[in-house]
């Protein structure tokens, strides 16, 4: 099952998940905005890495994540 991982965001140690723009069970398209995470200074929008269904969110709103952490699974 394809993973959605926290990409390299530049000079960022840790982010907080601000908002999932899709719910579990919803279909997503490659390149569609999926989740917003925030750093100390800004907010990054992470896109879906491929078409599919968002089956599981592993880092819900409010959770912290680091580079390469598993955020969700798309099937």
């Amino acid at each position: 099952m394809p993973d959605v991982r926290l990409p390299d965001l530049g000079e960022v140690d840790e982010v907080t998940v601000v908002e999932w723009l899709k719910k579990e069970g919803e279909t997503v398209a490659h390149g569609e905005d999926l989740v917003e995470v925030e750093t100390e200074k800004t907010t990054f929008v992470i896109e879906a890495p491929q078409d599919g269904r968002l089956v599981q969110i592993l880092k819900p709103q409010g959770e912290k994540a680091r580079f390469d952490d598993l955020l969700a699974r798309i099937d």
Partner: protein, 287 residues
Amino acid sequence: MTARPSWLKLKAPSPEEREGMRVVRGVLARHRLATVCQGALCPNAAECWGSRTATFMLLGEVCTRACRFCAVETGNPRGAVDPGEPERLAQAIAELGLRHVVLTSVDRDDLSDGGASLFARAIRVVKERLPQVTVEALVPDFSGQEEPLRAVAAAGADVLGHNLEVVRRLTPSWRDRRASYVLSLSVLARFGAHAPRSLLKSSLILGLGETREETLEALRDLREAGVGLVTLGQYLPPRKDAAPAARYLEPAEFDALAGEARSIGFRSVVAGPLVRSSYHAAALLAR
């Protein structure tokens, strides 16, 4: 959780940008160089490094001053200077193939010359070894000492920058107590006198509680000091416990201020919420 305005949202880096970041990180690590991109947790790091540019931070990563808007660590480096830094810097610039480079440093009040001799040597080494590269030096105030200012001015930077950072009234509450509005203007004016061929550049951080009139006063004061290039950006709290922004200026307000700055006589202006003082420095110089 803070509600950030929509204009402070960025797309996660593209694959090309991630590749650029990997290249820049490799060069920095190999030559043991620091950048303000990292020190200041810059939101544009992916964009700039993605296009293989960076703002080098000389003289270590620990600053002797503590300005409230800044993410760089404060401490006492106890006189430590790395004499091989200028040569490694030139090597890194060559490897990255940069045409324009911004050099800055932490404040070094622990050194009698504030780090000016190393800074000046770094400028000279880059200019000598890479004559095609334009050099922008963003320097501290050197406590207003004449000799360090002259040494840096004489090193031949194409752009000499010193950031005024904050409007007059708010300077004491935001900048380190050793910094001052009048001193920063005097540093810029003296650079103009000592290095008439260098372009002068400065920067203001907005959203700290200043009024529009106070921003315009600061811009007029910078023009009067001879500054021709200016950047205007939004204050972004550097830490969770840092003072929040008094206000997030809308992109249109930055555009309007940029127009005002041009009408005051600045030859080039970069203004916007995510603009930092070295953002798009090459383009600013080219205009």
